[in-house]
């Protein structure tokens, strides 16, 4: 039932493995969302996880990042990841930008972003002075005028940028982004992808879940196709 992922570009990355997933299964009660998925993402890759909605793409990310409990092995930069421990994954470099953003609507934009630092510090001063927070804010000049505004009052595109910025504030080596363009206008989606390309160019490994592979593959050099909860080569 398991299959390894295909390599879209045909050139296996020469650097180390950032994320290795072996026999991953995720179930919600009796409903199996992901069955025995095996794939690896090399350091510096941009990997697209594609497939129709409801086929378990998001559940793969939820299982890998520890948001839900899983069966199977996940290793981040060679270290076996603890099951169901989001903070462990974040501290070892893997951060999730979830589907539908999952912001805190009644907190300010700046507070939403700075909470990304919670994965590595409890000090608000340290968080504010950190490079991770500074870079996250600098990457989105369009958010600057809105830093004091409540996140729930931002537009959908701005909220997506806040979610990505929060992910970056965690100082990730691997950024897993779930459906970054859901419900966004074409121009805004393009801006989101421009930013993701910038993040990738700066050396961060990317994993992007997309229903439509067309846009994802403008950026990604690898692809994992998910069908009926099974990941396979594309």
């Amino acid at each position: 039932m398991s299959a390894t992922s295909g390599n879209h570009s045909g050139n296996p990355s020469e650097s180390g493995v950032a994320l290795a997933v072996t026999g991953l299964s995720v179930a919600y009660g009796n409903v199996v969302a992901v069955h025995d998925a095996t794939f690896a993402v090399a350091e510096g890759d941009a990997c697209a996880i594609t497939g129709p909605n409801g086929n378990g793409k998001s559940s793969i990310l939820m299982g890998v990042t520890g948001m839900v409990r899983r069966r199977g092995e996940v290793a981040i930069f060679g270290t076996p990841a603890r099951n169901g421990d989001v903070k462990w994954a974040a501290r070892h470099g893997l951060t999730l930008v979830p589907e539908r953003r999952q912001l805190y609507p009644e907190l300010s934009t700046a507070d939403n972003i700075i909470l990304g630092c919670y994965t590595w510090t409890r000090s608000i001063g340290k968080a504010r002075r950190s490079d991770a927070y500074g870079r996250a804010v600098d990457l989105f000049p369009e958010l600057k005028p809105h830093l004091k505004q409540l996140a729930g009052t931002l537009s959908g595109g701005q909220q997506q940028m806040v979610a990505i910025a929060r992910g970056l504030a965690a100082n990730p080596k691997i950024l897993a982004v779930d459906e970054p363009c859901l419900g966004l206008a074409e121009a805004v989606a393009k801006r989101v992808y421009d930013v993701l390309a910038q993040i990738h160019a700066a050396g961060t490994t990317l994993i992007i879940v997309e229903e439509a592979p067309r846009r994802a593959l403008t950026l990604c050099n690898r692809r994992v196709e998910v069908r009926n909860g099974m990941a396979g080569a594309a």
Partner: protein, 294 residues
Amino acid sequence: MKFGNLLIAGITTGSIYAMFAVCVSVWYRVSNILNLAVGDFAMVGALGVDNLYRVKGLPLPVAIITTLVVVAVFAYLYDQVVLRIAQDGRRPIEGIVITFFFTFALSFFIDGVAKVLFGTDVHAAPTLWGGPALTLGSLNFERAGLLVLACAVIIGGAFWLYIRFTLGGKALEASGENSLGARIVGIDTRQYRRLIFIGTAVIAALFGIVESPITGFTYLSGATISLTGFLAAAYGGFRKPGRALVAGLFIGVLEAMLGGYVSAEYGDTVLYAILAAAILAWPRALGFESAVSG
């Protein structure tokens, strides 16, 4: 100077309401559970200290510290046993049952134990700052009242500073806003639920100790306190400690003014009529819609 003295009395009572409202709404923000037992912790604080000091003959500081430790340990165990099974299990209980039932049951449980331990008479913790009322011109300041106000300002201020200026405080707000989003950045929402539950239980007990010389407590006093705190918290949509604080103060002052100027007998009836009318007139502005729609 009737107005001034009524205002002082109102602010004192109001600050008590405000503190309980803040306790209710801060915890509701984190856990989505209304703490209907918050007043019972105040009652345990007052009667526990009275019992240890007056009946058992312990020195006052020892009686106070023992009572607060017992309350903290009890709150910890309650969270670990009841709330963990209810909220953190494989099938977490949701909706009205978790919102009300578990703390409502806790309130009855504490009342029952308190009846056995402390009896049914009116008692109070000893006055911490004895002496005649302080006067300033024609204004009278009861010392116990000033102590209550000071505690309210210090504890309310500490809460505000914590939420406004620390990452832990923002994490606390975030876990109430969106628990899934909070977990993504590694916030342990259960830990905050436990921490705030224990913290507010101890604060409530402390307030019971400071306030009881003014009103006196029986084993049944908790319910009334919870209810007033609950009411003031409702004016902040249960989620806004700042608004709950203002609402608590306002209710206290209004109550004193109505008692002084309208009728001592019907003051409370008029008070609740005004509060109900305010909710009907401005449900959205008072945060009631956000409480209903979640």
